[in-house]
């Protein structure tokens, strides 16, 4: 009867499922690969300035903060499920946790990171805005584990939270059901070299843009830290393409692309923006809303109203660095009849997503299958295990849909009870 529900992945899907289960008095083991909870949402920015834009990021962050203090939820960070085996009374999951070298006493004062002598630091604050905020040490970089025996961080730590004796832990848990929510990997924009990502500094992916906005609250050029005056946002980079990237639509890019555009434009009155898109697929709002907003954004130049946002239905063919140091985009118009070149200070590529495949051994022990696009399917799990695939591992979806799905699925699991 004391079998728990195993949740693999601490992103919006896993967190919501774990929270729903725990409020139904189920015991949950939450296994997360990263250093803190929150998944992709950790590095995404809130898209509101003074008014909420319904991006759903805060929902995931709030759940992360909530789950670490919920009784009945065992959170394992920097951990991976190695295998799941059938036992007489359910299943046994083997979980491997990498050492963190920092205990829970860490209060996040960041002194350790300041004294760390390693170039690029070996002790880090957890990524983005996730919870818990416990630091961790990367063994490969840390001098303590080399000849030097450096202990600078331990000396300075006010709560004695550094523990160099931390070791890899292998634990097993009896479980009844598995919720698989391994989430997604953003598409690497280097796969589309013609748009300049990787070799032009000020061509950033939307993931980078979100990170910059989340850290600084405003958009800056990575090259010189100045705020860009003219920005291009290019949608569908890596999505909806049979040759490069993926053939499906990643669903959430129009949602976040338009919201980032709104955030930048409304946050900085000096910025202009061109929005390149193929089809506008904003979620949960009338299709004209964004167009209307773009149309209303005007600036007064010599008594005339000039649009600040242009919506251009086209996919730029190439990005190149001009002699003036700006980024030029070559575009054809909608009917392919004319080719124009336009300079920008910053180009944001809205990249799509690929499902993140679960580790091989786990996939084999649960008999998971991948469909043609790599999405995880589990139609006939081995030996009657109850496996539910949630979140973007199962289909492209945004945070809101992920959350709704997770609530519904977790209720199913909870009702069928711990012992399968």
């Amino acid at each position: 009867m004391n079998n728990k529900v195993l949740v693999i992945g601490g992103g919006p899907a896993g967190l919501t499922a774990a929270q729903t289960l725990a409020s139904d008095n189920e015991e949950v083991v939450l296994v997360e690969r990263g250093d803190t909870l929150g998944g992709m949402a950790r590095e995404l920015t809130c898209k509101g300035i003074s008014e909420c834009r319904n991006c759903g990021v805060c929902f995931a962050i709030d759940r992360a903060a909530e789950i670490i203090r919920m009784p009945g939820v065992e959170v394992m960070l920097r951990s991976e499920v190695v295998s799941i085996d059938k036992k007489e009374d359910g299943f046994r999951a083997k979980i491997r946790s990498s050492p963190r070298y920092v205990t829970k006493s860490c209060i996040g004062c960041d002194k350790c990171s300041q004294v760390c002598p390693v170039d690029g630091k070996a002790i880090f604050a957890p990524c983005g805005s996730g919870h818990p905020r416990t630091h961790w040490i990367e063994r490969g970089k840390c001098l303590h584990f080399r000849k030097q025996k450096c202990e600078k961080c331990a000396e300075v730590c006010p709560t004695n939270a550094i523990n160099y004796d931390d070791r890899v832990k292998n634990v097993s848990r009896n479980i009844s059901s598995v919720i698989l929510a391994t989430g997604l990997d953003p598409i690497d924009a280097r796969e589309i070299p013609r748009l300049g990502y990787g070799h032009i500094t000020d061509v950033v992916s939307s993931v980078d843009a979100e990170r910059i906005l989340n850290e600084k609250g405003r958009m800056v050029r990575p090259s010189d830290g100045t705020s860009p005056k003219k920005i291009a946002v290019i949608q569908c980079v890596g999505s909806r393409n049979e040759k490069t990237g993926v053939e499906y639509c990643s669903k959430f890019c129009c949602k976040y692309g338009t919201k980032i555009a709104q955030l930048i434009i409304e946050g900085d009155p000096d910025t202009d923006l061109d929005f390149y898109f193929m089809d506008l697929r904003t979620l949960y709002e009338p299709q004209d809303d964004f167009k209307k907003w773009a149309n209303d954004m005007k600036r007064k130049v010599e008594k005339k109203k000039v649009p600040r946002v242009r919506l251009i239905r086209s996919m730029p063919s190439q990005a190149f660095l001009g002699d003036d140091g700006r980024i030029w985009l070559r575009t054809s118009d909608e009917t392919d009849s004319e080719i124009t070149e336009t300079p920008y200070d910053l180009v944001i590529l809205s990249v799509g997503m690929r499902p993140r495949a679960p580790p091989d051994l786990l996939a084999r022990s649960l008999d998971l299958a991948m469909d043609g696009c790599g999405f995880v399917r589990c139609e006939n799990p081995k030996e009657g295990a109850r496996v539910i695939v949630l979140g973007a591992a199962s289909e492209p979806m945004d945070i809101e849909e992920t959350v709704t799905r997770a609530m519904a699925a977790a209720a199913d699991v909870a009702r069928k009870g711990g012992s399968a």
């Binding site: 209060i107 996040g108 519904a408 209720a411």
Partner: protein, 525 residues
């Protein structure tokens, strides 16, 4: 009341980073008025320490406690439990001060100022603590395990199924007399008239046929969906355009026109805001594929402003194109219209190619869902705000995607904004599950830090009644405002706006807030 405060400082956390001098803080606390005991402990969350703190509380006869941990979230609930049970301290007389989050971490580069600020903060907190009143929470039993679901569409039926499986009694209210396959009670030809009560114990008035009845329930799920009956727009008048679900039905019955099928995104392409679509394209593309497969000679046209083939529907979009479905993007300024000379044709200008197409059709369908006009009466009955586009507005994202601002009322499916069948079903399941979770406790808790009216000061100006988003204040029999405790969420909005200052929020009274502020301002740092 004796007003003796125990101050507990967690030495490990607050002394962290050697910013603060804990001993000095203790001295400051000990010298402050009303303080009966001030101790510093290592690890306040430890079971042994908790016993020690409780012992100290008992022997010093304190009646309130101020704990200074790492942050509010890090205080073990066990400590509060022990205080409540063993030291018999009222739960509203225990407060935390987050010295670490507010002072140690952000001011660690300036220990002198941090120390002065911490002392001042501590004194302000003690000042506040001394003014707090013990409060009691009350509870009442839910009278029923009923979950009322409004609308027997895809979402509603799914919600009923989910809630029934979780052991709730579901009552499905449907305005039409269509056949509904759902567990629980189904009431056809019924609509919601009004609602009273609060989460856990609602009393609804419904109209079943001619009869009015009252219905008790613990939670309400709104699944009113979109409206299919009353579409307007030039395409409906000129071409008899029908909603998409009719096409799905016709395909199911094997009726497929050979003269061609046109699916257009909206029956009113010129409208200011095309408020529909979104997920509806999923169903549109699937239908188009099915027609081409079942009747290859039927031409299928999809006319749209934006092709919203979301997610994996993109693959169906491609399949549909391979099967010969014709996709035509049109511009809003040049919308599709019936051919004035030959009404059996639709004229549209392809905005990509620039060509003018004249399409003969056997049937025209639109992939949009208009908001349900019943939303107005539902919103009035349950008092839930509406969106600009005529849907029901959900509450803060902090409460999740399917919760309305009103506790105990959930909204799913196209009632918010047009959804495809799949997403509606999904939201229905989530709403059913959430409603069941809400009801399964069987108890409604209320009271505590809530608002209270001083009748003598009240001038019955109705400002509070208008301001409260939960409709807790009402004008009682005495002609003065009263607060219905079960509805009050303790936000204090009515308190701040009351022109006569007749309402107070317990433990956040004007006096308490101003005195705390004054004390904090008084500190020099």
């Amino acid at each position: 009341m004796k007003r003796r405060i125990q101050v507990v400082i967690c030495r490990v956390c607050s002394g962290a980073a050697n910013v603060l001098d804990v001993e000095k803080l203790l001295r400051v606390a000990n010298e402050a008025p009303y303080v009966g005991s001030a101790i510093a402990v290592n690890y306040a969350c430890n079971a042994k320490t908790i016993a020690q703190i409780v012992e100290e509380a008992k022997s010093r006869e304190v009646d309130r406690m101020l704990i200074i941990p790492c942050s509010k979230s890090d205080v073990s609930p066990a400590l509060f439990q022990a205080y409540k049970k063993k030291a018999k301290i009222n739960e509203f007389l225990m407060e935390t001060v987050d010295l670490v989050g507010e002072i140690v971490l952000p001011h660690r580069d300036n220990p002198a100022r941090a120390q002065a600020k911490a002392e001042s903060k501590l004194l302000a907190a003690i000042t506040r603590m001394a003014m707090l009143e013990p409060l009691q929470k009350s509870s009442e039993k839910m009278r029923t395990k009923n979950v009322v679901i409004i609308g027997a569409g895809v979402a509603g039926v799914e919600a009923a199924r989910q809630a029934t499986q979780a052991g709730m009694h579901t009552i499905l209210i449907e305005k039409s007399d269509k056949e509904v396959k759902a567990p629980g009670v189904v009431m056809p030809k019924t609509r919601l008239v009004s609602a009273k009560g609060h989460a856990g114990n609602f009393i609804l008035t419904i109209e079943a046929g001619e009869k009015r009845e009252t219905l008790e329930c613990a939670a309400v799920v709104i699944a009113s969906g979109g409206d299919w009956s009353d579409a307007k727009g030039p395409l409906v008048q000129a071409c008899g355009a029908k909603p998409l679900y009719r096409l799905v039905q016709e395909i199911g019955e094997g009726i497929i026109s050979r003269e061609g099928v046109v699916i257009v995104d909206t029956p009113d392409p010129k409208a200011d805001i095309t408020s529909a679509q979104d997920f509806a394209w999923e169903d549109a593309i699937q239908s188009a594929i099915e027609i081409r497969k079942k009747s290859p000679e039927t031409e299928v046209y999809l006319l749209f402003q934006e092709m919203r083939a979301l997610g994996l529907d993109e693959l169906s979009y491609r399949d549909a194109a391979d099967l010969g479905v014709r996709f035509v993007r049109y511009d809003k300024k040049r919308p599709p219209h019936a051919d004035p000379k030959d009404k059996s044709k639709i004229v549209v200008i392809d905005s990509v190619q620039g060509q003018t197409l004249s399409i003969p059709y056997g049937g025209v369908y639109y992939a949009s869902i208009a908001p349900n006009p019943d939303n107005v009466s539902i919103s009035e009955a349950l008092r839930i705000p509406m969106t600009e586009s005529g849907g029901l507005r959900r509450g803060s994202m902090q409460k999740g995607p399917i919760a309305t601002p009103r506790p105990g009322v959930l909204v799913c499916g196209s009632a918010q904004f047009p959804r495809s069948e799949n997403i509606s079903r999904l939201e229905g399941r989530a709403a059913g599950a959430l409603a069941a979770q809400l009801v399964s406790t069987g108890i409604v808790e209320f009271g505590g830090s809530v608002a209270e009216v001083t009748p003598d000061k009240c001038s019955a100006c109705l400002t509070c009644v208008r301001t409260c988003p939960f409709e807790a204040p009402f004008i009682g029999n005495a002609g003065k405002a009263e607060i219905q405790l079960q509805l009050c969420q303790g936000c204090g909005m009515c308190v701040g706006i009351c022109p006569s200052k007749a309402i107070e929020l317990h433990n956040y009274t004007d006096d308490q807030l101003s005195t705390e502020t004054a004390s904090y301002i008084g500190g020099d740092f």
